[in-house]
Each structure stands twice: as structure tokens, then as C-alpha cells.
Symmetry: C2
DNA sequence: TTGTACGCGTTATCAA
DNA sequence: TTGATAACGCGTACAA
């Protein structure tokens, strides 16, 4: 036999009811008598019918149950950032409440044959970050009338944003250091652009920072230490923080008594660099992080850091998506970090 | 106006051609005269039509362009494993060749409202790992006639598997240590079950290991060091390796001269434990890892390890999926690790 | 509570 | 090279 899959009409016929009745049995959207339900279920079992075909259902309903997450980078890179991972956790949870799942998409237009924003059956999309490509993606989605939410970026009018008070939180950390008596402070920033190599930021380079998160956090630090030298790391990694820390500690002039790192991973690297140089943290060098993630292998240090509600951010994005799918309009949200004092900051010695 | 979205028939009418012709213009599956193509494209532009509705297309074609990846854990946990991340990279790449994207799904049946294997419009699914839940998932997918590929697990007859020569690779590492002259060796295994707490494995617990990867690697080590004591870590994390390392170094009896860790992260932790105890690696203690991933923050150590082709594994899974969707049958694949000598192993001192 | 009728937006097939 | 037609499998008003 040619083994055509059973459809809901087959089941209905087998059960001796109308197709619509069978449909209702599976969707549960209307009351059905127990007897009928059982007949339908039995028939389905006999025919090996496992439920409505999602493809047909999604055409009929106009919903596919799929929310795309558009990433700027390869998965491997994107998910090496613990904050991203946590956000995805929250997002998954958030969209699950509308019965949706998360489809991973790269915003790489020159990838031929790849599933794209134009060809995937999306109900909505979440963009993370914001760059030139993101803007293209936004155009496409707008043309398709697909609801969009942006995390840490600007999607333009009508696009809900999920953001963090990066500047304020970083200022708080800087104030903490100032309050402890630190005056000579160095800053390690996140990667500032894709092309740029790690290194000291001069005034011009600093104005040129395209990565909003980096710029905002830098501004927060500058609110307290306007003249602190800043070193741009290549990425948010321990190894990059180590390199930055080495550069900072090797620089001529008086050694800083504290380093403000724009991420916990960078901070961990800076601590390594300090240890390597024979300095004690926090006695000889205070270090602050950002994010409040668990840095595997950093114990016994507990970073003084700004804890960002990453999971909540993701969940909020999911909720926003849910709201837009419901037809209501989702509001933008600004999340607040929590200052957490660890054992990596203290008054400068002497 | 109620702003109904333009359909392909609208475009066809506007362009003065048949709907089927317009369809061909967008799919490019048949030759169309340039003049006609241009008329259709212009009409589309005028109407703000951005291309065929993926939902309708997927019903008609019987393909949604979506491959599900079924994970056992929360995303945050799953992606904290660098090997998983790399595999996902390869998988994404592999399935992209059939124009498909990756949908993240948890195999959590008690999550209500969540999109599931039954309700998502999948063309195929990739299972990672293998546990009780996985078997359920397999059942569902088989009933739905959805092609499945399993990575590091057994999907039963007819289900292509992507595997690693864990035992052989681990044996090779162990032999390397034996060749260097090591006789007293301890083993740190991956987490062996969800419930089990970290701790020494007795013979019974060892027989009970459900996680195949852990069991296979352990067997490989045992091929060379039948009596080496084994400590099961709680998870593949530096911190867990640290804990294991402490336990091993604190144990009574003669201290081992080498530790075989079942992952690079665990190995990194063991190295930390050694440093903490004032031991030098590799002089006082040799340590081997497994996976060959980049462990952020481990420099200047370069682990002696077995490099597994994680990206290739993922890509192979993607290719297998592609093949099955093409109607051909995909073969199971066994990947081989490459021994890589770093600076964490040497002859035992004295 | 059940059944009837229709359309969701495409695309494959075949004939012209 | 183009056009007409018929599914694809389902959900939902509406009437019975």
C-alpha cells in the first residue's frame, strides 16, 4: 500500500463523525461529549493518526508557533556569552507561554539556500543587539508585518525594546570604587566593533564606539572617572581580559589601583593578570565586573559587579512577543542592575 | 480599509498573469520570460507583496524548512557545554544546505502549552544524548513519521547515529600516560546521572552509569588502568573539576601522579586544584582532558587531550537529516578523536 | 452537541 | 512559456 498518512477526515470517517467534530476533539476548543471524544480517539489510534498536521493547522490558524531569534554571529560565538545564554533561557520560557518555540536564525544575507527571515514561517522575531545588518532584518520584517522585539538595541518607532540601565549601573560601580578612595582607575571595555583590534582607546576611537552597550557603560564609568584610560578588549572573554590586564599593568606611569571591567569574564581575566604580576586582589588591585554571571573557575573570588537580570530580560522579550501576537501593543522595558559587592574591591593600599 | 495582506493571486491579477505563473516567478522552479517576470515583480512591489506565505507554501510542499533539536536540559545548561555549542554550529550549517533552520525544543513533557514535538511543524529532528525522555521523544517522532538523527546516543534500528570513538580515544590518552611511566592514576568522570551527587565511584555505581559517553570513556581508561580510582563530577565544569581534584589530592594513600579527566573543563579544574595544593603541572601531576575545546582562561596551559571533531559531528547530523529528507537513507557515522599533546603531561617525577 | 460549507495561500500537474 | 485546475489538511462560522 502506498501508505498515505491518515488525515483528520479519515479519522472522522472511521469514527463516524464529521471532520469538524474530530478537529474539535483534538483542539479542545469546544465541548464534545465524552462518548464522541472516545470514538474519535479510538479511531485515531487505529489509523495511527497522531494529531492535526501542524503545517495545515498553521496555515489555517495563521500561526506557526515559531519565534525567530536573529543572531549577529555564529551560534558558537553568540552562546559563548553567558548573558546571551541566560537571555535565551528566559526567552524560551517567555514564548512558551504562547505555545511558541525558538528558531535560530543568522542575519547573514549572503548565505544562499539558508532559511531566512523571508522564507521561515515566523509568528514574530526577536533581534539581539543592533548593527547594520539588524537594520536590514528590521526592514524585511516590517515589510512582512512580522512583530519584532529588540533586546539591547533600537528598532525604531513602534518596536518594543528591552534594555538595561548600563550607564547608571556602571556609574554605581565606579562610585563604589571612588568611595573606597580609588583615584587611579583603568577601564576595560567590551569589543567596540567587529574590525577593531584590542588596544588603548584614544578620544577619537572612543567617540567612534558603535556598540551601544560598551558606549553606555563607558559613559557611566566616565561620569565618575572622566580621565581614566580605557583599553578595548577584543571580546568578552577571560583571555581577552587577561591580555587587557597585562597591557594595563605593563603601562608606564603609576599603576592603577582599580580596574573597571565591562563584563565579569573580562574582570576574571584582569584578576588573572594581576595574580600573574604578583599583585593581590583586592589588596593591590581592585577589580569590578559587570553582568553578575557565574564565572566558572573564578572561585574563591566573588566579583564586585552589577548583576543584570538576564533571564528576566529574555522572558520580558518573550512576553512582549506574546502581547503583540495577542494584538495588544507591548511596551518597551528598561531593566535595572543590582549592585553586588564581592571580595574583589577594597580601599587602595597605602 | 481592512488591510488584508496581498496574496499571490492578487499579484497575479495585478500583473495580468495566472497565479501559477506568479508562483513560478518567486520559486524560480521553472523558466519564465524576462518580461513576465518583471511584470510580476513590479506588481508585487506595488502591492507590497514580499513573497509567498511560508505557511501556505509549507502546507503545499509538505516541507516547513524546520529541523528541531531536542535538548535534555535548559538552554543555559546545554549551551554551557562548549562541545554542544560547536555541534550546534555545525548542525546549523549542515541543515542550512537543505534550506532548513534549527528550532530549539526541550523534551520536557510536563511543560504545558509549550510547543512540542507533536505540535511544531518539523521536517526532521535531531536528538542529542540519550535518556529516558529521549526514548519518549523517539516514540512520538516515529509515530509522526518524522526523520530522526541521534548524536551520541542510540535511536534504535533505522535511526542514523553520529558517534565518537570515546573509548578508543580515552584509551589512547591513558596509554600516553602509561608510556610516560605513570602507574598511580585517578579518573574524573562526567556527571553519571542527573540525581547522583559528585563523589567516588564504587564498583556498583560504576556499573550503573547511564550516561554512555561517561561509561565509554571510563572503559577506555580502564583498558589501561584497570584499578584506577574514579571520582564522578557533578557536571562538566571547571568548578566541578576543582572539587574533584581537591577530593583526589586530599584522599589518603599515595597521591596519584596523573589524573585523567573526561572533559577539558574538568581537567582545567583539576589543574586549579593542583596549583592550590602547591603542586606543579605537569611536574608533580600530569592531567589529561577530553574534547579539545578552547578553555577560556586556561592559558598558559595547553591540555594534553583528545580533540573531538564537534563541528563536523554537528554538520554530519545536518547532512544526515538532509539525506533523509531527500528520501535516501543516511548512514550512521563514527567520528574519531585526534590525540593532541599539550604541556600538562610529562613523566612522573622521581 | 453535531454536521455543512468554505477558504486559508500555495504549488504540482497537465494541457495549451 | 503560460494558464487552468486541483489538491495540501485543517478550523470555524453557521445552521441544524
Amino acid at each position: 500500500m502506498k501508505a498515505r498518512r491518515a488525515t483528520i477526515s479519515d479519522v472522522a470517517r472511521e469514527a463516524g463523525v464529521a471532520a469538524s467534530t474530530a478537529s474539535v476533539v483534538f483542539s479542545g476548543r469546544m465541548p464534545v461529549s465524552d462518548a464522541t471524544r472516545q470514538r474519535v480517539l479510538d479511531a485515531a489510534q487505529r489509523l495511527g493518526y497522531t494529531g492535526p498536521d501542524p503545517r495545515a493547522a498553521s496555515l489555517r490558524r495563521g500561526r506557526s508557533g515559531i519565534v525567530a531569534v536573529v543572531l549577529e554571529e555564529r551560534l558558537g560565538v553568540a552562546f559563548s556569552d553567558p548573558v546571551m545564554t541566560l537571555q535565551m533561557d528566559g526567552l524560551t520560557e517567555g514564548v512558551a507561554r504562547v505555545g511558541a518555540g525558538v528558531l535560530l536564525l543568522r542575519d547573514d544575507p549572503d548565505a544562499p539556500g539558508e532559511p531566512s527571515l523571508t522564507t521561515a514561517p515566523l509568528d514574530a522575531a526577536v533581534l539581539v543587539g543592533c548593527n547594520a545588518r539588524t537594520r536590514e532584518s528590521l526592514e524585511i520584517l516590517r515589510a512582512r508585518d512580522v512583530p519584532v522585539v529588540v533586546i539591547e538595541g533600537d528598532g525604531g518607532p513602534g518596536v518594543p525594546q528591552i534594555r538595561l540601565d548600563n550607564r547608571e549601573a556602571q556609574r554605581q560601580l565606579a562610585s563604589h570604587l571612588a568611595g573606597l578612595g580609588h583615584r587611579r582607575v583603568a577601564i576595560v571595555t567590551l569589543g567596540t566593533t567587529a574590525e577593531r583590534r584590542p588596544g588603548w582607546l584614544d578620544a577619537e576611537a572612543e567617540r567612534d564606539i558603535r556598540v551601544e552597550v560598551a558606549a553606555d557603560r563607558l559613559a557611566g564609568a566616565r561620569d565618575v572617572f572622566p580621565d581614566a584610560p580605557a583599553y578595548a578588549a577584543g571580546a568578552s572573554l577571560i583571555d581577552e581580559g587577561l591580555a587587557a590586564g597585562r597591557a594595563i599593568l605593563a603601562a608606564s606611569g603609576e599603576r592603577p589601583t582599580a580596574v573597571i571591567a565591562q563584563s565579569d569574564l573580562l574582570a576574571a581575566g584582569v584578576i588573572r593578570a594581576a595574580e600573574e604580576a604578583g599583585l593581590r586582589v583586592p589588596d593591590d588591585l581592585s577589580v569590578t565586573g559587570f553582568d553578575g554571571v557565574v564565572v566558572d573557575g573564578l572561585a574563591p573570588y566573588a566579583l564586585t559587579t552589577a548583576v543584570q537580570p538576564a533571564v528576566e530580560k529574555g522572558r520580558a522579550a518573550g512576553d512582549a512577543v506574546a502581547a503583540m501576537l495577542d494584538g495588544s501593543t507591548a511596551a518597551s522595558l528598561l531593566f535595572t542592575c543590582t549592585f553586588r559587592e564581592g571580595n574583589t574591591t577594597s580601599a587602595p593600599r597605602g
